[in-house]
């Protein structure tokens, strides 16, 4: 089958297909959360699910993040495979107790007697003058806690396979989802498939610098790499896809080759994911001869005004400029 004959789906509909196929094939799967009936909240990700599977298994809940998330955890403890959506990641902060105290610790503190197959689906929705409480990328908080897996897919193909893998995973998985990806379209197989959690992928091979990122910034980084190539910088782009458990090897191997790394993270720098990658490199590899930089958002909450948003959020252009400065010796003189 030639590529151009393959069916295309956008990111939101790839999520929709993963959910539909899981709900169809496994009666223990259920989806709950605020906004599953509302494209305004969750785009097309939950399109037709309520109509197809009924109110018992697809619940649009009252505004009660704590109880809703706890219910998803409890149903998972009782043998269901649950997905709970928070249409803004910020809202899930109300639900840190069931996520961190309960789900993350459950298997351990029960000595393996019980486990929690739940997916916490948190949609990051930064930008659009929505200010500080509709935009926070909080993956670091979850990646810090033992017992949680944290995934952040960046393509329609990946999101379908990784979401199916996450739903089937016997452990709690935090799915960090960036709303800005929803329109991104590519070939996605109709069949069900899983992409194993914990595996990064090299999106572009290169020899001059390793660029590590995930979620929507993996796409921005890829775009940046194409521009950088024109400037004489041949970047290797790693989409890490899963923050925890982290595919350290794919990063270490690449940096061994390029000797330079920029970690591009949509969250704050301090105590964050980018800090962790640097620490791992320092602890587990030799840093001699290697250069490291981190590209993060400023250490401030998000402001509403577009002028401040321009200064705040990371995009391909900013990645290009930062990487060019960092690799100034490689840049072709004009």
């Amino acid at each position: 089958m030639s590529l151009n004959k393959e069916r295309k789906l956008n990111f939101a509909l790839a999520i929709n297909e993963a959910l539909t196929q899981m709900l169809e094939s496994d009666p223990s799967v259920m989806l709950i959360g605020q906004g599953v009936m509302s494209p305004w909240y969750v785009g097309n990700t939950c399109k037709d699910l309520l109509e197809k599977f009924g109110e018992a298994r697809v619940l649009d809940t009252p505004v009660s993040e704590n109880a809703t998330t706890g219910a998803a955890v409890g149903a998972a403890i009782a043998g269901m495979k649950t997905i709970v959506v928070h249409p803004r990641t910020d809202f899930a902060v109300y639900a840190l107790d069931p996520i961190i105290n309960e789900a993350a610790n459950w298997h351990y503190m029960s000595g393996g007697a019980s486990n929690v197959p739940v997916v916490f689906w948190l949609i990051v929705n930064g930008g659009g003058e929505q200010a500080a409480q509709h935009s926070q990328a909080l993956h670091t908080i979850f990646a810090h806690v033992p017992g949680l897996k944290v995934i952040a897919p960046s393509t329609p193909y990946d999101v379908k396979g990784m979401l199916i893998a996450a739903i089937n995973d016997p452990n709690p998985v935090v799915f960090i989802d960036n709303r800005s990806l929803y329109g991104f379209e590519e070939s996605v197989p109709e069949k069900m498939y899983e992409i194993p959690l914990g595996k990064g992928i090299i999106r572009r091979k290169g020899k001059d610098i390793t660029l590590v990122s995930f979620s929507h910034l993996a796409q921005e980084t890829l775009k940046a790499a194409e521009t950088l190539a024109l400037e004489g910088i041949d970047a290797e782009v790693i989409d890490i896809r899963t923050l925890k458990p982290l595919d350290e090897k794919i990063i270490f191997d690449s940096v061994e080759k390029t000797q330079r790394i920029a970690i591009i993270d949509s969250a704050w720098k301090f105590c964050g994911f980018s800090a962790e990658v640097v620490a791992l490199l320092a602890e587990k590899t030799s840093l001699e001869g290697k250069s490291i930089t981190r590209i993060n958002i400023p250490d401030a909450p998000a402001a509403a005004s577009n002028s401040l948003e321009q200064a705040y959020y990371i995009n391909a252009e900013k990645i290009v400029s930062r990487v060019k400065n960092f690799c100034s010796d490689k840049v072709i003189a004009n």
């Binding site: 219910a71 009782a78 105290n101």
Partner: protein, 325 residues
């Protein structure tokens, strides 16, 4: 209500089992052989016993920090519980959980946590699972008066009512939230009333009279199992021991928090002694039979302690086991 003598003996036996198990922990706590935080259930035996008697093994129970009684009444294994309190590998949570994380999924004891109100929403979720599967299970969520200060309780009442979930919210009002009297943590209204704005059927009952508990439990379980929706019950009871450990001051032998006169008053309403008197007066059990039950229970408890003390602690090199399944 009429009761068979078998049932009455069964209720008494369970209350004695819980009481003597709790009291057997006093010495090991005081001498430091048991070190994890232990919240004794002494004084509240009638609630767990009366409530769980109506449940099948498949029904679900979620508990809190003071849940030894719930675990035992729901069929949890005594040896595994004592071993867990000693934090041994043979414990029900393999020494990873201690007294505050008893678990026995095979008996429907789904989980117990000390985050106050932490399992209420989880219980709602288990009830939601039952509703999806139409498996006719009933879920019990045990919590104390202290949990009524937590917002998640009200979210959970709303949620359970909206979806008519088969869950019974069981509030054991033992008059104290750690060191605070209930008067200082709540406006003076009956706790059972908090369920009515959500349209949830509710009851208040004496929690120190096992037969009253049994009766209200029957109504609640029948209502719930028939698909009519959630029930809320407030039981008035009293913990005769401290919040953590034997006394309000773990190391002490006296109480600074509660007036001694109050403790004495509630000792007269001791649910175990009260039920024994009732059974003797009704000639259901003789004093000899009662002594025999206590003796048998104590033998079982002693064996459990010996089993626990002779059990190994988890191996240090297994510290990373059970992070993920």
């Amino acid at each position: 209500m009429k009761y068979s003598s078998t049932l009455l003996e069964q209720l008494y036996h369970m209350m004695v089992k819980i009481r003597y198990t709790e009291e057997s922990l006093v010495e090991p706590i005081m001498n430091g052989t048991v070190r994890c935080p232990v919240h004794l259930y002494t004084g509240q035996e009638a609630v767990a016993t009366g409530m769980c008697t109506h449940l099948t093994r498949e029904d679900y129970v979620f508990g809190n920090h003071r849940s030894h009684g719930h675990y035992l009444a729901k069929g949890g294994d005594l040896k595994k519980m004592i071993a867990e309190i000693y934090c041994r590998e043979t414990g029900c949570a393999k020494g990873r959980g201690g007294s505050m994380h008893l678990i026995s999924p095979e008996n429907g004891v789904m989980g117990i946590v000390p985050i106050v109100a932490g399992t209420i929403s989880l219980a709602v979720g288990a009830a939601m699972a039952s509703k999806v599967r139409k498996d006719k299970r009933v879920t019990l969520s045990f919590f104390g008066d202290g949990a009524t200060g937590e917002g998640v309780l009200y979210e959970s009442l709303n949620f359970a009512s909206l979806y008519k979930l088969p869950i019974i919210f069981v509030c054991e009002n033992n008059l104290y939230s750690t060191h605070m009297t209930v008067k200082k943590i709540r406006p003076p209204q009956k706790i059972a009333k908090i369920a009515s704005p959500f349209g949830i059927k509710s009851f208040s009952s004496d929690g120190n009279d096992v037969l009253k508990v049994y009766e209200v439990s029957k109504k609640a379980v029948d209502y719930c199992r028939s698909g009519k929706g959630p029930v809320f019950i407030e039981f008035f009871t009293y913990r005769l021991r401290g919040h953590v450990g034997p006394d309000d001051n773990i190391q002490g032998s006296h109480t600074e928090i509660r007036p001694l006169s109050e403790v004495e008053k509630w000792k007269k309403r001791d649910p175990v002694l009260r039920f024994a008197k009732y059974l003797i007066s009704k000639k259901v059990l003789s004093q000899n039979k009662i002594n025999q039950i206590i003796q048998e229970v104590n033998n079982e408890i002693n064996q459990a302690h010996t089993f626990a003390q002779n059990s190994a602690r988890p191996l240090a090199n297994e510290v990373l086991e059970y992070v993920f399944k």
